[in-house]
């Protein structure tokens, strides 16, 4: 219970520090799967998950605390206390481990003494030396770290060194006791000091991504996302699944686009659309006066930060959030003359990001500006030297204008999404997934931070090998609207789903078909959509095979058009795919036109997914 209280009071106090530590990375989420694998996140590596797994997520509060990177400002009150507490928690553990090492050393010493002069002496000596080395490693590490901290923290030195010098003459257990007593004292101090401070909360989110779709996954205790009945992965399904249908539709669309790109009409349409949105955005930025507002917000931010007052942290958060909302509002990515697919996807990605910014501005801009107006008014009364009239006036005008211009803003957002979609990035799906509400948990309020998810119960999602699950954790200040702005630490771990053993997959792709023999005129790589069933095999933890080479062998079908006199031409071919069905090659027969054909293919959704993966 004492430990719980300590953690609570500690976290309460931590919330009082300004949220200037974005980017701190946490690395101690532990994942245990139903198939017995265990992973520790977050790392840049992507782990493999069995496609039918359920996963337990364990979060160690103490380790999580250690991962939070606090403000580097030495002027912040309580800063040294915080680092002191983090260190002391670790030191207690280290001395307990050292005491265990000492007991091991003594036990090995007894065995050695008894074995002296006998045949067992050599083995006993080896064990004794091993125990000594192990003790030495633990003790040197614990003591060096303690001495360094005492040298760098004069207050800690004055409070602790006499007691530690006394305790070390006994054993390491006594040293751990001294540290525990001191921790308890400063916890009480912190608890009192932080009674009125905000608390910290933890947000845990998981997404599954496959093709160009992305969907939130239910995490026990963190959201209300509905789950379905458990559905095991169907290994041998002889019908086109949802993904194959999507791929077919995308290939069909791309087939049209390729023709439009080839005759130049696509680029013209795209440029015209983007120009229209650009004009609307420039007009919006001019009306809201974003350039003036951004400059004023930056000046205000500088002034507020320079004061180094922890009470101003919420105001700084508000200013940063508003500045991020309007920053670069009128700037769209330049549309290059490139018509290559990767260039188009790159432009589409940037446009989708701009659409997200507009959506956020439309959803929360007026409310945020209104709140900031009130905050600045209050601050101007309490600390007149910190806030000038100009920033107050600018924020007020921006709020009024933005409220008035909401309709054109939303139209610009819709236009951008349309453009992104036209190029092939269905970013609206991801945006919709992002908007599902999370239910953060407060740190240290008795309830565990642990959670779990079950891949088999993900609703409205057909799992496929190669789909990716990402689990992210964020620690932020409670009561701040923008969790990302107030983020104190963030961690993420990615997993790739794999079906082990043999399975049959339906896929679709854009095929470039070249006629080889027969009575019809020569076709030079005509673009058509095609579907196929491919047999694949997944090996446990063989990333090179499962993810990169990822071969499939099977049969493909395509609707062809070799002979203008025939209304229906079906092509059947043997096909081989590589890199998770991204690249296809095959040879087959047009049954109606009685002609052989060769084809190469590309799966646009797989390519888009790879691009997104690369861009993350």
């Amino acid at each position: 219970m004492a430990k719980r209280n300590r953690v609570i009071s500690l976290f309460i106090f931590l919330a009082a520090t300004p949220p200037v530590s974005r980017g701190a990375v946490m690395n101690r989420m532990i994942f245990e799967t139903s198939s017995g694998d265990r992973y520790v996140g977050s790392s840049s590596a992507t782990y493999e998950l069995n496609i039918d797994d359920s996963v337990e997520i364990r979060i160690d509060e103490k380790s999580l605390l250690g991962d939070i990177r606090w403000s580097s400002s030495p002027a912040l009150p309580g800063q040294s206390l915080l680092s002191r507490i983090q260190f002391l928690h670790q030191a207690v553990d280290a001395f307990v481990v050292t005491q265990e090492g000492l007991l091991g050393l003594k036990a090995a010493g007894v065995v050695l003494e008894a074995a002296k002069g006998s045949d067992a002496e050599t083995d006993a000596r080896k064990s004794f030396q091993l125990a000594n080395s192990s003790f030495s490693d633990a003790a040197v590490s614990a003591l060096s770290s303690l001495n360094e901290s005492l040298d760098s923290d004069s207050e800690l030195k004055a409070s602790l060194e006499p007691a530690l010098n006394e305790a070390v003459l006994g054993d390491y257990g006594q040293m751990a006791d001294v540290l525990r007593r001191y921790l308890s004292e400063i916890d009480q101090k912190l608890g009192k000091k932080a009674e009125n401070a905000q608390r910290l909360e933890v947000t845990l989110e998981a997404f599954i991504t496959g093709g160009l779709r992305k969907q939130r996954i239910h995490l026990d205790g963190y959201d209300d996302i509905r789950t379905g009945e458990p559905v095991p992965f169907p290994r041998f399904q002889l019908a086109l699944d949802e993904r194959a249908k999507e791929e077919f539709a995308a290939s069909e669309k791309l087939s049209e686009s390729v023709n439009r790109i080839l005759n130049g009409s696509f680029e013209k349409e795209l440029k015209a659309s983007i120009k229209k949105v650009e004009t609307a955005l420039r007009e919006l930025a001019r009306t809201v006066k974003t350039d003036v507002l951004e400059a004023e917000l930056n000046d205000t931010l500088k002034t507020l930060v320079s004061v180094r007052d922890e009470n101003l942290a919420p105001v700084i958060s508000e200013v940063v959030a508003v500045r991020d909302l309007i920053s670069g509002l009128d700037k769209l990515p330049p549309l290059s003359d490139e018509t290559r697919l990767d260039a188009l996807l790159s432009i589409a990605g940037a446009i989708a990001a701009k659409a997200s910014q507009l959506q956020a501005l439309a959803n929360s801009g007026p409310e945020r500006l209104a709140k900031l107006t009130n905050t600045l008014e209050r601050l101007a009364r309490e600390k007149p030297n910190l806030v000038n009239k100009k920033i107050q006036q600018t924020v007020l005008v921006a709020k009024d204008n933005l409220t008035r211009e909401l309709a054109p803003l939303k139209a610009s957002y819709t236009n951008l999404l349309e453009i992104a979609k036209a190029i092939g990035m269905t970013a609206d799906v991801a945006a919709a997934a992002d908007s599902v509400a999370s239910r953060p948990r407060e740190l240290g309020i008795g309830n565990s931070l642990d959670s779990r998810f079950d891949l088999q119960t993900i609703k409205d999602w057909q799992r496929n090998p190669g789909d990716e699950v990402s689990v992210s954790i964020r620690v932020s200040q409670k009561g701040t609207d923008d969790a990302k702005a107030a983020s104190l630490a963030f961690g993420r771990q990615r997993f790739r789903l794999e079906a082990l053993g043999a399975y049959l997959q339906s896929r679709a792709a854009l095929l470039f078909v070249d006629s080889r023999t027969g009575k019809v005129p020569k076709q030079s790589f005509e673009t058509v959509p095609g579907a196929a069933f491919h047999l694949r095999y997944g090996w446990k933890n063989q990333n090179w095979w499962n993810e990169w080479l990822a071969p499939g062998v099977g049969m493909s079908l395509a609707m062809l058009n070799f002979d203008s006199n025939k209304n229906f031409e079906l092509g059947i071919a043997g096909s081989v795919t590589l890199i998770r069905d991204m690249f296809w090659v095959g040879y087959g027969r047009n049954l109606q036109a009685q002609a052989d054909y060769f084809f190469v293919g590309i799966n646009p959704i797989a390519l888009g997914a790879l691009y997104r993966q690369k861009a993350q």
Partner: protein
């Protein structure tokens, strides 16, 4: 001396040959981490007392302790120097720790920097095999 020294060999100050024999025997003893303390003023005496107490934590039995202290009040004696020079080199420390292989694992040059915590750290280094 506030407390009795249970783990310390005090070498005779005025009998160089005897002191050297005792020191050589202590160094030759296997399975012992040895702390050598040099000098005889009040601060050295304090260090010896701390070192002796630090040895208590590694006592295995009535007859065997993994740690031991040797207090060399007169390190300048020729016979002592003959043993120490090959071990410690030209610059003699105020405290030195010899590991199981009789190599210097830790030392202090300045007696004012010594306290029980730091002394224990140097002792702990001596346990590394």
């Amino acid at each position: 001396m506030a407390s009795m020294l249970k783990n310390t060999l005090i070498l005779p100050e005025n009998d160089g040959p005897l002191a050297a024999r005792l020191l050589a025997a202590a160094i030759a003893d296997l399975d012992v981490v040895l702390m050598l303390v040099f000098g005889k003023d009040a601060s050295v005496e304090q260090v010896v007392e701390w070192a002796d107490q630090l040895c208590n934590k590694t006592r295995v039995s009535e007859t065997y302790n993994v740690r031991r202290v040797v207090w060399i009040m007169n390190p300048a004696a020729n016979e002592i120097q003959e043993i120490l020079k090959p071990l410690l080199g030209a610059k003699e420390p105020v405290v030195a720790v010899l590991n199981f292989h009789d190599k210097v694992a830790g030392s202090f040059q300045d007696i004012s920097k010594v306290n029980p915590l730091r002394l224990e750290l140097e002792f702990a280094k001596g346990h590394k095999v």
